[in-house]
């Protein structure tokens, strides 16, 4: 870009000049105090006394160093930390593979489904010498990732089935599924989580306890499946009927037509919307805190709320997990672009 070009872009006419100056002024006013706070005056060592002496004139990033283990892995036993780290790595790896095109088609789909399926036993243990870690101790980033990826992996097949069911010729089936979709879309996720965690246990007989994580995961799957089914149904409706006739003419039966002609194209068409739902779900998982599952935001709360030394620096800690959420969303957004 030449200088002339730059000038024309930023100072081409009165409006552009004014906007350029405005932005420059905002940066000049905002950046120095921000830099001062976040970098120049900041403390990076986990030293509570030094941080307190700063009196918030600079950021105390030490809080992140001090609490990193708790925030990222929650209450998971420290000497087994490699398991949640590996589980998180598997899931992030599958997302990276999708975002950067390392894997394609069937392999990519298997990786996206396999990652949460492998993460579950890895976190839970109880076999091959791995100690049994109850789900209530799972937390932090691995839990956030697991709820998102397992939620999507469970919801997608169900959503596809529901989408086909709603196009079925059987009025009872169609009516029931429409009812389910409207009900699931008609209540907030928080309400679904409340029902799954508070109401259901009261209806179980004594001594029967379904683990909280499973109850919540099922609620998330049922909730997300309703949205995904509508996305898939939209894709099915837009599918050109001519191709169906062509498939028929070539001797494909109904099952083969759907499997080899319709679904591959439809899923590719709706992939950006599916990734969009994944982004929404990724952020929605923070709601499980209210039912005492401590994912990223919850484990941050546990780490800081009761600690008199470090609680004053919650802003720094929140900025830390905001960055993690932003990275996660950026990654999923790239998946959406890539698949589209």
């Amino acid at each position: 870009m030449t200088l002339v070009n730059l000038r024309r872009r930023f100072f081409g006419d009165g409006l552009n000049t004014a906007l350029t100056l405005l932005v420059l002024a905002a940066v000049a006013l905002g950046l120095p105090p921000l830099l001062n706070w976040a970098v120049i005056n900041a403390r990076f060592a986990p030293d509570a006394a030094a941080c307190e002496a700063l009196d918030h004139s600079g950021a105390c990033w030490g809080v992140v160093v001090e609490k990193a283990h708790f925030i990222l892995l929650g209450r998971y036993p420290a000497d087994e930390a490699w398991r949640p780290l590996l589980a998180a790595g598997l899931i992030i790896g599958s997302w990276l593979a999708a975002a950067f095109g390392w894997l394609r088609g069937g392999k990519l789909a298997s990786a996206l489904f396999a990652a949460p399926l492998l993460a579950l036993p890895l976190l839970g243990g109880g076999f091959a010498g791995l100690t049994d870690i109850p789900t209530e101790l799972w937390g932090g980033l691995p839990l956030t990732l697991l709820l998102t990826s397992a939620g999507m992996a469970g919801a997608l097949p169900l959503g596809i089935a529901v989408a086909y069911g709603r196009r079925s010729a059987l009025p009872v089936l169609r009516g029931l599924l429409t009812g389910y979709v409207e009900l699931a879309r008609g209540i907030p996720l928080v309400a679904a989580l409340f029902v799954a965690s508070f109401l259901l246990p009261l209806f179980f007989p004594d001594g029967v306890a379904v683990d909280m994580l499973w109850r919540v995961l099922i609620a998330i799957v049922l909730f997300a499946a309703a949205y995904l089914s509508e996305i898939v149904r939209g894709g099915l409706q837009a599918f050109p009927a001519g191709q169906l006739d062509a498939a028929l003419a070539l001797g494909f039966n109904r099952w083969q037509t759907q499997r080899w002609i319709v679904l591959p194209q439809v899923l590719r068409d709706v992939a950006p919307s599916l990734a969009n739902s994944a982004i929404a779900l990724f952020k929605d998982t923070s709601l499980v805190t209210i039912v005492s599952l401590y994912e990223l935001t919850g484990s941050l709360g546990l780490a800081l709320a009761g600690d008199p030394q470090w609680r004053p620096f919650y802003l720094e800690a929140w900025l830390f997990i905001a960055t993690i959420y932003w990275l996660g969303c950026a990654l999923l957004a790239r998946v959406s672009q890539r698949l589209g």
Binding site: D55, L202, F204, S292, Y314
Partner: protein, 337 residues
């Protein structure tokens, strides 16, 4: 909605008697006590950077584990949000709810649980800026008062000023951090919450602590204590008497350090307490050294108080009402005999 509520109440009611007397057996079989704690209340229950739970409510569970199982570490900690705490107890997810919860009639009578004993007498107070020259809550006419929503605090505030015939404007915040930020930035003339928290907020969160004062009025009674599920009198008695034992230990001068040495004491009250002579544990279904084990694990009530909320803690709360009855407080354990 009323019908659903009734159904739930009925279910909670029906399902509890079946558990009668089983809690202790279940705890012994599992080898641990499931203790419901908070998601982080300074001094009462909070996890440190290593994930170890600390606090006054936490020590109650540790004392129980020591008394029942002989090991203070045999506790499964279940952090519970305030919305979830009662359901978790009713549905059997926790054996005891030790989560600075106020004992009140409706909670005791309608929620299918039993409060066992008071472990901390709290009350709601006010904090104002010194320069406002306010010295009593009665001077807060037309004042804006910052308060956190969804707590008994909010209701106490309106009850108190209605009774006084004084109009105030509550400014309600959803989050604790937001409410104190607003107060210290001058959004409100006063801030109200439990007195135990006020002292700490003043010393730790205020820009300059000396610019703020806590007013003398305490406008509500907030007796905090652990609760257990209804329908298991045996377990109820164990929790109640373990707490009584911690309080009695302070009165008798039995400390964590001295508990072993005192076995030779000629004082019959101390002998009974330590299980040297009579076996008090038997009637509770516990080992004869249950009370000694509890004190050995976490100390007596005074030591627990000082370590977590009192002089040796960042909270530095005075004993106040929580002193022994013969030292100006209202702590009074029925005799262990």
């Amino acid at each position: 909605m009323p019908r659903i509520k009734a159904a739930l109440a009925a279910l909670a009611f029906i399902s509890t008697p079946a558990l009668a007397g089983k809690t202790l057996d279940a705890i012994k079989a599992k080898g641990q006590i499931a203790c419901g704690v908070s998601t982080g209340v300074i001094g009462f229950s909070a996890a440190d950077s290593q994930g170890q739970w600390k606090g006054l409510d936490v020590d109650v569970c540790k004392a129980l584990a020591a008394a029942v199982l002989g090991d203070a570490n045999k506790v499964r900690w279940v952090p519970l949000s305030s919305q979830q705490r009662f359901t978790a107890l009713q549905s059997g997810e926790v054996d005891i709810l030790s989560r600075n919860t106020t004992w009140s009639l409706t909670r005791d009578a309608a929620l299918g649980l039993h409060f066992t004993a008071v472990t901390y007498y709290d009350g709601q107070g006010f904090m104002v800026a010194k320069k406002s020259k306010v010295t009593s809550a009665k001077q807060l006419k037309n004042a804006e008062i910052c308060v956190q929503s969804g707590t008994t605090t909010e209701k106490n505030l309106s009850d108190y000023f209605r009774a006084q015939g004084i109009k105030v404007k509550p400014v309600v915040f959803d989050k604790f951090e937001a409410s104190i930020k607003a107060f210290f930035s001058g959004r409100c003339q006063a801030y109200t919450t439990d007195a135990s928290a006020l002292a700490f907020i003043r010393s730790k969160e205020a820009p300059t602590p000396d610019d703020y004062v806590v007013l003398p009025e305490i406008i509500s009674k907030e007796p905090l204590g652990p609760a257990v599920r209804r329908g298991d009198d045996e377990w109820f008695a164990i929790v109640k008497w373990t707490i009584n034992a911690l309080i009695e230990a302070e009165e008798l001068g039995i400390t964590q350090a001295k508990v072993d040495g005192l076995k030779a004491s000629p004082d019959p009250a101390i002998q009974r307490f330590l299980g040297v002579g009579e076996d008090l544990g038997k009637s509770l279904g516990l080992n004869r050294e249950w009370a000694a084990r509890a004190v050995k694990a976490v100390g007596n009530y005074g030591e627990i108080f000082n370590r977590n909320v009192g002089a040796d803690s960042p909270l530095k709360l005075p004993r106040g009402l929580n002193a022994q009855w013969n030292h100006g407080g209202i702590l009074y354990a029925p005799p262990l005999r």
